[in-house]
Amino acid sequence: MKSKITLAFKQCIKEKRPALITYTVAGDNTKKISLKILNSIAKHADILELGFPHNTPIADGGQIQTSSYRALKNGIRLKDVFHIVKKFKKSNPNKPLILMGYYNLIYQRGENNFLNSCKISGVDGLIVVDLPYPENKNFAKKCKKKSINFIQLLSPTTSKERIKKIIKDSHDMIYYISMLSTTGGKLKVSPKKIIQNYKKIKKINRKKNLVIGFGITNKTISSLKNSDGLVVGSQLCKVINDSIKKRQNPVTKLSKLVYNLKKQIL
């Protein structure tokens, strides 16, 4: 059986456009609102990434840090994260959802326990920021056994040899980090250069769905269209932050932003 992630990419290929992948933090700014946000942006986004927040996020920039701290301050726990996923999946059974976070939370819960909770709540994939290849081999295998996609990351510093090995061991989706940066950095490499690098990687195995993330906003997204998928995260977190400050409704604001993002890659 094909995974929901694969099916989502297939649909986008049919529509001749990249997949739109969003990232928000579970529990930002409350459990209820983050679920509402997911339900609302799912109308426009093809795949949803949901962060399970950690209070020492070494690879995240300011926006996602702020969202994470806010969610934690509002009392989000892992069981709430899984609860949000379960509720979301109930009303959007075919929309792929990927959990993203840091390894310590998985380690404390126990890898098997964590994966069981993923399975029960309906998680389709996992991105673990600080569990690189080859250290992630065992865990990735465990994911596969449970039909959960383990999503490998590639970066501009990854050597060609290493890229080949990682792709060989990858599942349905691979995440290419556009530039040397934490999340939410300003795009300091030209989109042209990013697409050039992207194509080199894509050539190694055209069957793998390769998405680009880091530094993508409504200003840059259209210039990166020539790809299988594009991830927007920090801009979403920023809009949540701004709308809380201005006492606006983050759900409608976010829905609007994601609609706009989608429009630009059609």
Binding site: H54, N55, L105, Y107, Q108, E135, I177
Partner: protein, 408 residues
């Protein structure tokens, strides 16, 4: 789990860089894989490079000021009436603390790597001050990440960093202390690893940084083992080496050359304010293993793995984790760990400063507190050596505020 004899402790890891199969490793974002691999290769080469080692020794002697003094604390010994108490006065090193060893070696490596920029984290401000000094000496541009709270409470070292032309980046996230400074420094490196060398200020972080730091501070015990043999004609049968531990860099350096001897190692963690549950003592308080800053270690954390709040009067010991090397030493029972409270540290500072010509900062005062506790119960044939790895001058404001006076 066992320590092998005759092999440097830093090399006793498996292919996943884990000590004892569970401490350390490289839990890092993909972007850092290559820079860390490159640095690992370079360091492996330099460790065997005679010229590099000569260069290191040259600067340790002529720039750091090796060897630092080894003195008997006659008055304290008399006052406590038990074991003979000695101090290795590492605070006499250039800049006033052991952090100069790691900073110097990192700058030498950065030069070899052809990097023009160097960044580092700091808590008490010593690691930052020394990196700023060394960077200036070796012609590197330097940025230091420091928690906003620590900037306020460690003024003298902040001034010293500025004097040495370092740019200080205040870290305003989380607790605004060392743990956040290390995180922010790593984030900066993720974004700038192609041009910039990173120095982690202690024996923490991804494996290579633990190695470089312990390799550098080992100078302390290379000197000490000679000084002890000169003083006693041999290594005394009952010798206790006491050292405070935050990240654990000075203790690793203090113990390294004694690893295969009978010397007893006692590490003292920050117990935090008396009667509070806040502490920075993951080894003493049986914290569970967790992952912080790229390494698995005993870690103050909650059930889910969020890093816990900690508190201590000494910024330098305020780290929720602890070097994987110390976790390894603890589980193999090679070293023992205990903690001292803020109050005990202040008392120890006061007693030592009053009786002796040295005045330890609040970090080593934690070690002195333990020595003061146990020395009276020991025989005069027993020897305690304490690593006095920092000077109280940097804590002048804190001490004045707490005690109402400052003596040195």
């Amino acid at each position: 789990m066992k320590i092998k004899k005759g092999i440097p402790l830093i090399d006793q890891h498996d292919k996943n860089y884990l000590y004892g199969g569970k401490f350390g490793g490289n839990f890092i974002p993909e972007t850092l894989k290559k820079p860390i691999d490159d640095l690992t290769k370079l360091f492996t080469k330099l460790r065997k490079d005679k010229k590099f080692l000569e260069e290191r020794d040259y600067y340790f002697k002529n720039y750091v000021g090796a060897p630092t003094p080894f003195i008997k604390l006659e008055n304290l010994t008399k006052y406590l009436g038990g074991a003979q108490i000695y101090a290795k006065v590492v605070s006499e090193a250039n800049g006033g603390a052991h952090k100069i060893y790691n900073a110097t070696v990192h700058c030498l490596i950065a030069k070899r790597a052809g990097k023009k920029y160097i960044v580092g984290d700091t808590g008490a401000g010593y690691a930052g001050k020394m990196l700023a000094m060394a960077a200036k000496k070796f012609g590197l541009k330097c940025k230091i990440f420091m928690g906003s709270r620590d900037i306020k409470r460690q003024r003298p070292n902040v001034e010293a960093m500025k004097k040495n032309d370092a740019e200080i980046i205040p870290v305003k996230t989380g607790s605004q202390t060392l743990v956040d400074a290390v995180s922010e420094c790593m984030r900066y490196w993720v974004s700038n690893c192609n041009t910039t060398h990173m120095c982690v200020g202690s024996t923490v972080g991804p494996n290579i940084f633990i190695k470089i730091c312990a390799f550098s501070t080992a100078q302390i015990s290379r000197e000490l083992i000679k000084q002890i043999k000169d003083e006693f004609g041999r290594i005394p049968n009952k010798l206790k080496l006491m050292n405070c531990v935050g990240g654990g860099s000075s203790a690793m350096g203090f113990w390294n050359e004694f690893m295969d001897t009978n010397a007893e190692f006692i590490g003292i963690e920050a117990g935090g304010p008396k009667n509070s549950k806040l502490h920075a003592a993951p080894l003493t308080n049986k914290s569970k293993i967790g992952i912080l800053h790229g390494a698995a270690q005993y870690l103050v954390q909650d059930k889910e793995g969020q890093v816990g709040s900690i508190e201590s009067c000494s910024a330098g010991l305020m780290y929720p984790g602890i070097s994987p090397l110390h976790c390894f030493l603890k589980d193999t029972k090679r070293a023992k760990y205990t903690s001292a409270t803020d109050e005990e540290a202040f008392k120890a500072y006061q007693l030592v400063s009053k009786l002796e010509n040295i005045s330890p900062s609040l970090e080593p005062s934690h070690a002195f507190a333990e020595a003061i506790k146990i020395a009276p119960k020991l025989k005069s044939s027993e020897v305690i050596v304490i690593n006095s790895c920092g000077d109280s001058i940097k804590d002048k404001d804190i001490i004045k505020k707490k005690l109402g006076f400052y003596i040195r």
